[in-house]
């Protein structure tokens, strides 16, 4: 607790200091022209800062470092009596960053949409408690956001951009010698979706939080996954699986989907046979649930075949030049019903699933019928064409005869 002791003090200090945070505009500064000429480590902050999210509204170096940014001599510019601070200690970041970011009135002027509870969350996080326990490697604000090249999390250059945040967490949490959460996540469906450009896919902070980072316990896994998959959670909680799974390790969703190594779900997983998930729990031959699992698998497999068959037939007729509006609508309906049927697996309710697959099968059949009637229409058109061509041929023959007669007379 010794390490945590100064934190509330710093927080209070920050609150007091915040209203005074009226940094001079960058244009008046002498810091950057001087530092950029120094080269090496001393020039880096000046070179990194342009484009920084703090540089854009004109918050200059003195906003964090204090001192007299208008002075042209080093002694005056970096005078401790004028509040200059080097900010080398990580703990100082909490005071400096939090001084502004926890100040509602100040933040309203620059980023009114930004939450002002980040500092409080950080203080309550696992990271802060590690720091308080003496772990000097535990992250503070600058560990994740950097110091002089900070960009909005929506900016791909930002270290906390959804596409880069896993890499950021891996700096501390990677264990190449013993693959853990970071390594498992790298092969997950969530990471794959992020890599494809779906920025709303889950990254580390989506489940663990960012400023208030905390490992979800078994009892909160369901709610955590349910933030993005609310319907599946609702179905799961209404199902027979809730009692035996929720609140127990590895959490509500873990037994079927894993936590970090969440792979793309497939229909083959709904099976009591080898390679299926259901059999891993329902492994007793007399388990009645095995019958239910078989029924779900059969319904899903049959509908998959029906939809694929209809898609194939529709594609064939489309390739012959037909506009397949009705068939496309029916196929779309079949796919929607099927998606719902698959989702209902979370409720492990066989009759509800069969009801949906039956609706999907009916729509697929309509698509097939539309393809069949389009194919008949094509045959009809081609027969009609040959009729028209025959008439044209007869007309041409008649004209040729007339020409011969007419020219023969001459």
């Amino acid at each position: 607790m010794i390490g945590l002791a100064p934190l509330p003090v710093l927080w209070v200090l920050a609150l007091v200091a915040a209203p005074a945070a009226q940094p001079p505009k960058a244009a008046q500064e002498t810091c950057r022209p001087c530092h950029s000429k120094l080269g090496g480590r001393k020039a880096k902050p000046a070179l990194d800062f342009p484009g920084d999210v703090h540089d854009q509204p004109g918050l200059g170096c003195a906003g964090c470092h204090g001192g007299d940014p208008t002075a042209t001599v080093r002694y005056l510019a970096m005078n401790r009596e004028k509040g200059f601070r080097k900010l080398k200690e990580p703990a100082e970041a909490l005071e400096v960053c939090g001084g502004c970011h926890a100040d509602v009135a100040f933040m309203k002027r620059y980023a009114p949409n930004l939450s002002t509870d980040q500092r409080a969350k950080l203080l309550a996080s696992r990271h802060a408690s590690q720091y308080a326990l003496g772990d000097r490697e535990a992250p503070v604000c600058t560990s994740c956001h950097g110091a002089h090249g900070i960009f909005s999390p929506r900016d791909p250059r930002s270290t906390v951009h959804p596409n880069r945040v896993a890499e950021l967490c891996a700096r501390c949490h990677a264990h190449p010698e013993k693959p853990g959460a970071v390594e498992l996540y790298a092969g997950s469906v969530h990471q794959a979706a992020l890599a494809k450009g779906n920025l709303s896919s889950a990254g580390c902070p989506s489940c663990h939080g960012s400023h208030g980072a905390y490992t979800p316990r078994a009892e909160s896994v369901g709610t955590t996954c349910g933030k993005c998959h609310p319907l599946n959670l609702e179905l799961f909680r209404a199902s027979a699986h809730r009692g035996p799974l929720e609140g127990k390790d590895p959490g509500a969703c873990g037994p079927c989907h894993a936590s970090h190594a969440t792979t793309r779900s497939s229909d083959a997983q709904v099976s009591v046979a080898a390679g299926g998930i259901c059999g891993s729990c329902h492994n007793r031959v007399d388990d009645w649930a095995r019958q239910s699992a078989r029924g779900m698998a059969a319904a899903i497999a049959a509908t998959t075949l029906n939809i694929r068959g209809a898609e194939g037939e529709v594609a064939k007729v489309r390739a012959r030049g037909m506009i397949m509006v009705d068939a496309d609508a029916a196929l779309q309906e079949a796919r929607q019903e099927f998606v719902q049927a698959r989702g209902l697996i979370h409720g492990v309710n066989l009759s509800a699933i069969e009801e949906r697959t039956a609706a999907a099968d009916a729509a697929a059949r309509r698509a097939l019928d539309a393809a069949s009637s389009a194919s008949s229409e094509l045959t009809y058109r081609r027969r009609g064409l040959w009729g028209v061509l025959s008439i044209i041929l007869v007309a041409i023959a008649g004209l040729v005869t007339q020409i011969r007669r007419s020219e023969g007379r001459r």
Binding site: G321, M322, I323, R382, V388, L399, I403
Partner: protein
């Protein structure tokens, strides 16, 4: 007071159901019966103009039918074409015939132009006929370009964006021309309305006038007899315009109709995806086949040539070549004197070869994975 002529005294009606005293076409018919078309081994070139006219008439007829369903707004254009093709009885046929006929018309007009060039039929006094023909070719291409956008599908949308962007390269007036064509800074609903107006009102107006003038000039000056065919034509009897040439022309039109029907049935004109102006440009954007040579050439010109933008240079080059080509009756003095000109033949073969090679290159390029 002069007595009314009796039924026996009235001239025979040429147009059925219309008494000849109201519309007496017998002098015209008599003239056409007397008129003869030279008969030789390349007489087939005389049918190309008529075939182009046939495709134009098909365009007009099918275009009017399309107008009954087409709605020229970004929200409704695609749906109206889809509705026409999927729900309206023979709607698929009308649209396919319109689209195929447009392409065949460009092809026949182009072949007609080259045949006129190689037979030197542009020489005075037919120079005005040649120029009206060149203007009609330009109008045909403008019809193709403006009509391409109307279904408002993805390919059409982005190809029109690329195509209209070309005019922005024109020095001084490029920006104005671009906004004139698009009706704004980008291809939008205003562009669709504008292209629709060009396609169904402005271009047809000029085309009807020029077709009339072109036909009048053809009738006035008669059909050209190529130099190399003079001896053969002299030794063979001519083809009477009415009825023998007209019957042959009718056979050609029927063949054109058969081709249109077969193409429309076996290869009905497709409809891509609905255009999404906010989507990224799809791969494989390309214009209609008759503009491919132009785009392929621009691809091979370096970005900058002697400090000038390559694309601008290419466009200027094509514009200059087009003007020089249309001025063939002025440059080709040998044709005016009725003499052979190897230079003109060479230029014609060069232009034709360039068109064919560049089009093949473009087609191979777009077919490559």
């Amino acid at each position: 007071m002069e007595a009314e002529p009796t039924d026996d005294e009235r001239p025979a009606a040429v147009v059925p159901c219309v008494p000849a005293d109201r519309l007496d076409l017998s002098p015209l018919v008599a003239r056409l019966r007397k008129k003869e078309v030279p008969r030789h081994r390349v007489s087939w070139v005389y049918f190309l103009g008529g075939l182009s006219l046939f495709f134009f008439l098909v365009q007009v007829a099918s275009g009017i039918l399309l107008l009954l369903y087409y709605r020229p707004t970004p929200e409704a254009a695609f749906d109206s074409i889809e509705f026409l093709m999927a729900r309206v009885q023979f709607g698929w046929l009308v649209r396919s015939v319109h689209a195929w006929s447009a392409n065949l018309m460009v092809a026949s007009v182009s072949v007609h132009m080259f045949s006129v060039f190689f037979t030197r039929a542009y020489a005075r006094p037919r120079d005005l006929t040649w120029w009206t023909g060149i203007a009609l070719l330009a109008l045909t291409l403008a019809f193709g370009f403006s009509g391409y956008l109307l279904p408002w599908d993805t390919l059409a949308f982005f190809a029109t964006r690329v195509g209209t962007d070309m005019v922005s390269k024109v020095p001084l007036v490029g920006g104005w021309l671009l906004r004139f064509l698009r009706g704004g800074e980008d291809v939008s609903g205003t562009t669709l309305t504008r292209f629709f107006a060009f396609h169904v009102a402005i271009l047809p107006l000029f085309t009807f006038f020029l077709v009339g003038l072109h036909l009048l000039l053809v009738q006035r000056h008669g059909l050209h007899l190529p130099l190399a065919m003079k001896d053969e034509a002299a030794s063979r009897p001519g083809i009477r315009f009415l009825p023998d040439f007209a019957r042959r022309e009718l056979i050609v039109w029927l063949a054109g109709l058969a081709m249109l029907a077969a193409l429309s049935t076996y290869f009905p004109w497709g409809l891509g995806e609905r255009a999404d102006p906010f989507a990224p440009s799809p791969a494989g954007i390309r214009p209609e086949w008759y503009f491919l040579f132009f785009f392929e050439t621009l691809k091979h010109i370096p970005a900058r040539v002697a400090g000038v933008e390559g694309e601008l240079l290419g466009i200027a080059g094509f514009a200059a070549a087009g003007v020089l080509w249309s001025l063939a009756p002025v440059f080709d003095r040998a044709a005016r004197r009725g003499e052979r000109s190897r230079l003109a033949t060479g230029v014609g073969l060069l232009v034709l070869g360039f068109f064919v090679v560049m089009t093949i290159l473009a087609l191979r390029g777009s077919a490559a994975p």
